[in-house]
């Protein structure tokens, strides 16, 4: 890997489009779980990973691009769905949360310490779930308690695992993306 020279524009374009593609490809794989009818969907993990690895600006751009492709109708959302109508459906809040979560995770994890990455990852997942529950509440006019039971509780264990995974991966690969983007490692 070349780290001596800074290549901002081309590298930024490559990384942003790759992470948008990773999120999109994350919709196409669902790992079956023998114990649960719900498969593991790894899309939201790639979303948080984009924030953790690329930072708030580039990570947010990658997620915006991914959401825009989905809104245009490409089947990049979980379950192979796409189209602007998904945003108005029950899972619309989560999609908005993807953007908020990635930016938040990226902003908090700038320091690249274990603690910063961990708190960034946790904050990112909380943002996704909170936006999801809010969307559920607004779309269906239900109470906060019901929105929490339907929209947060079932995903909690899976998201804790995915959060741990995203933090582990970002602590391994963070220095690599930093050098690709020509950033000096903090601390």
């Amino acid at each position: 890997m070349h780290t001596s020279r800074m290549r901002p524009i081309a590298t930024h374009i490559g990384l942003i489009s790759l992470f948008a593609a990773l999120c999109a490809a994350g919709a196409m794989i669902s790992l079956p779980l023998p114990v649960s009818p719900l498969p593991i969907v790894i899309q939201n993990m790639f979303v948080i990973l984009a924030g953790l690895l690329l930072g708030p600006l580039e990570g947010g751009a990658a997620i915006l691009l991914f959401l825009a492709l989905g809104a245009l109708g490409f089947p990049v959302f979980s379950g192979g769905r796409g189209g602007i109508a998904v945003f108005a459906g029950p899972s619309g809040g989560y999609l908005v949360g993807y953007f908020v979560g990635a930016v938040l995770a990226g902003a908090m994890a700038r320091k690249r310490s274990r603690l910063a990455s961990l708190s960034g990852g946790i904050a990112g997942f909380i943002a996704i779930l909170a936006c999801g529950a809010l969307g559920l509440k607004l779309m269906n006019g239900i109470t906060w308690t019901k929105a929490f039971t339907l929209g947060v509780l079932p995903f909690l264990i899976g998201d804790v695992i995915k959060c741990a995974l995203a933090v582990l991966v970002s602590s391994r690969l963070g220095p690599l993306t930093d050098s690709l983007l020509g950033r000096k490692p903090h601390g």
Binding site: A21, M28, G83, A164
Partner: protein, 276 residues
């Protein structure tokens, strides 16, 4: 192994090549019609939505796309229709005094709720068919170039329009590649005895089982990004100008076709207002 077959075979976009008038329109015109029809489809009343659906099906017909193919595209959304209806019937609206249609345990459907569910389904179907037609007549290259052409005026205001178009087209190329890599890595790890999802222990221990999957995928993605950046640099990309010299010629009467899109959009809302 069947469990590990991913959806990499769904073609993003499902472009079907053809030489109809719709295929030959410039990408900017196709986008314009997409937006002009999406607005009444998304926020219009029932008659506006019906007009959009009908026009989309007719346009598909004109482009040589069978309505059955377009309607089949709605199938993956069916479980979500059921979920939306379930949620709607489970939680009543406060102050909803319309007649109850049926009651089943905690589920009770009032006329107003049923109308809302029906409307949401009609909207989704209309928009999905519309997008199906759009992606059938617009190739991936045209989609990226259309973004560039439409936003071109904003480039003068300093918006990085050309970079945006480049990122869009790069993403399209990467999606199938990454999906394929994910699949091959999962299969490789599974054939070596990797056990996804059944491990015991706390979240960190279970997460560790997935590391051999996520790390290679991400590393390979980063390597690809670097190769792409190097290739762009080798071709003297500086991020300033457009990177293509394709010009889409306008078909005869293209400007009139563009104007018609706005007329239709206004007409859909006018019909809605008249029939209300």
């Amino acid at each position: 192994m069947k469990d590990l077959e991913f959806f990499r075979n769904i073609s993003i976009g499902q472009y079907s090549s053809g030489d109809s008038l719709l295929h030959r329109l410039t990408p900017a015109t196709k986008y314009l019609w997409l937006f002009a029809l999406s607005i009444p489809g998304a926020v219009g009343g029932i008659s506006g939505v019906a007009m959009v659906l009908l026009l989309a099906l007719c346009a598909g017909r004109g482009a040589g796309i069978r309505p059955a193919f377009l309607l089949r595209g709605v199938k993956p959304a069916l479980p979500f229709f059921v979920l939306a209806a379930f949620l709607q019937f489970l939680f009543g609206w406060p102050g909803d005094h319309s007649a109850a249609l049926f009651t089943l345990g905690p589920l009770s459907a009032t006329a107003r709720e049923a109308a809302a569910v029906g409307m949401a389904v009609a909207r989704t179907v209309a928009l999905m068919v519309l997008l199906g037609v759009f992606t059938s007549i617009t190739s991936e290259g045209e989609i990226a170039h259309g973004v560039e052409d439409l936003l071109d005026p904003l480039a003068r205001l300093g918006l990085p329009v050309h970079r945006l178009a480049l990122v869009v087209s790069a993403t399209f190329r990467f999606i199938p590649v990454i999906a394929g890599e994910l699949e091959s890595i999962v299969k490789a790890q599974a054939s070596r005895g990797a056990d996804f999802g059944t491990g015991k222990g706390g979240p960190f221990a279970r997460a560790r089982a997935y590391l051999p999957l996520i790390v290679p995928v991400t590393v390979r993605a980063l390597e690809r990004a670097e190769v792409l950046a190097e290739a762009m640099e080798a071709r003297c990309y500086t991020g300033k100008d457009r990177t293509r010299w394709v010009v889409y010629p306008k078909v005869r009467g293209e400007d009139a076709i563009r104007a018609l899109a706005l007329v239709f959009c206004a007409a859909a809302f006018a019909v809605d207002a008249l029939l209300r």
